[in-house]
Symmetry: C2
Subunit: 400 residues, 2 copies
Amino acid sequence: MADNIPVLSQRAMAMPASPIRKLVPHADAAKERGIKVYHLNIGQPDIPTPDSFWNAVKNYDTDVLAYGHSQGLPSYRKKLAKYYQKVGYDVQPDNIVVTTAGSEAIIFCMMALCSPGEELVVPEPFYTNYNGFAVMSSVHLVPITCKAEDGFHLPPKEEIAKLITDKTRGIVYCSPNNPTGAVFTRDELQGLADLAREHNLFLMADEVYREFIYEGEHTSVFELEGIDQQAIILDSISKRYSACGARVGCIVTRNNELVEKLIRFGQARLCPPTLEQAGAEAALDEGDEYFEETMNEYKKRRDVVYDILMQIPDVVCLKPSGAFYIMAKLPVDNADAFAQWMLTDFSYENATTMIAPGSGFYATPNVGLDEARIAYVLNVDDLRKAMETLKLGIEAYNRR
Amino acid sequence: MADNIPVLSQRAMAMPASPIRKLVPHADAAKERGIKVYHLNIGQPDIPTPDSFWNAVKNYDTDVLAYGHSQGLPSYRKKLAKYYQKVGYDVQPDNIVVTTAGSEAIIFCMMALCSPGEELVVPEPFYTNYNGFAVMSSVHLVPITCKAEDGFHLPPKEEIAKLITDKTRGIVYCSPNNPTGAVFTRDELQGLADLAREHNLFLMADEVYREFIYEGEHTSVFELEGIDQQAIILDSISKRYSACGARVGCIVTRNNELVEKLIRFGQARLCPPTLEQAGAEAALDEGDEYFEETMNEYKKRRDVVYDILMQIPDVVCLKPSGAFYIMAKLPVDNADAFAQWMLTDFSYENATTMIAPGSGFYATPNVGLDEARIAYVLNVDDLRKAMETLKLGIEAYNRR
């Protein structure tokens, strides 16, 4: 008797493959051929996780690794509120819901703001997993297209207003931005806040790269005018303390009803990981010098990447001032095909460079086809080699 | 200018409060009055997490706590497959998707099987958080009502068949069962498998209490006939290794297409916690004596709870043979009111007992109103005192 195979849900069939990870089999094959692959495709920092984190985890002293509070460990929320107060926002421990990384923060908020079929407006290119979360929660993402020529800054407020319908429940943005590195200005963000106020929407800000600023300053959604009950911070320790594997993030809002409902989502899944919250709590003791050192390193890397990019004819890219990514329009017809070719057909001094094709960061079809994201997560020497290899690769690709 | 407060989603408003945790403020108030509260309301075991787990976490040696593989650490999946082979199921590492605890396993499967509005059939009373996950994923749970008089075993297959509609995508059950302690027999489960086969449905089995069996034997969904591509195991280390705060679970299926889509859900949230997977991997080295010792302890506890329950006139409850819960019909008109009264109005020798009212474990309205779940997660001495206190409480409540 043949096996029955029930069909999967429409939702499962609609789940996108990760554009960042889909080239991995080609990278593996290149490595099997003995070629070194410079990974500029993923946002995995090489900065050590602080000792304070490790010590707290290793000295965690209990017999039973028990459930923690669904809202997050009280001692962690207390100290986290102090961190936000120190960076200048009025946040109390009860305004915080600790989540299993930024991923859960985003999906909880999507679900709390939107029922199936409702809409969130989001500047594109955007963090590619927003797509996956939207499919999982049956939310429709409505993109605001930003352009390489404008340094991926926002279009005028009037353009954005045209995207708001009676199904729109919020606007979600990321600044400093993944994948572009753009840091939205206070004026740009106040424009979004004004739209949120005029249309009674939530304004969700993914601020996980808050400290990663090389020029200018970061403006938090909590500093904007007139949206006290509408502002939501999405946050994570993954990049701040180079602890991507810890899976600790949070949602911050002064809207008590939202907190109450988020706690219900939290209760359903019981709690975020306990040990890593202890580590995250300890990492909050890191002084300004920790961030200064890290930021100086990233700034140097950004300059290396940008300088070499600018030596490639016809690259379009304004110098980004935050996060650790650069999105650039490359002089190739199709960045997906080019990125794959770099892995399958090209090497220089027995090495090649892996980048993330741009199309996966857009919701609008056929946009960003000649763009790619470069994550500067290698040390300066390796990064220089990786970028020189990319430059030679582009030349070779266009000479084929 | 008054604050705008945008409304939350219908989904957020529909999220149920945890019936297990909703009495917590009354328990806190009792404690403030100096009353000791025996917590039989939550499934937090007091058994120590094994040293093997702690040692692996504390000796985890790396500078950067990096993202792990979205499907779970390969070394962990390899060893986990061996664990399943040892307990007798044909499982390969590629059949496993590691999740952030059993919670994520369930929600990923709900999403992969059902689009919004589609249905899963589930025996009730059931693990209360299934309700929350169903609201989050906009899935409709269709209950099969099981009764205290039958030891919460399944009704005849023909009764269950009547619940299947053209929107039904699967059947989900838990055995050994939370909240009832019932262990479904091979015949009962083969009945579900036959239904799954006849109606081309998935059959999802929450088997997190696999080792917690005091009489009879556990039958896995992977041992049932004719549903090779339809069988799904939902699993977790929370109870098995008393590591509830670790947040490590998994989904096991021989259906490759399902694995592929589950990995996409997994890629969206990047990875489960890394450190705890290392701990979970080490815990798999625990020998049979670890489980024997733990199970002997739980069996003693079950006997204490059951014996004292049987001394209370008009309690309805068959002796359950698994997990660490007993669900019983109590001689009170409303178990919600009674459970609250135990915290607000009753104490014996300056102590009271907290139980989980039954209604929250049912999807059918107004069923289980006189039932409660008792989790035997205290040592035998405390458990005896807690149960004697409960017995005296019931007498006093009915004399009011």
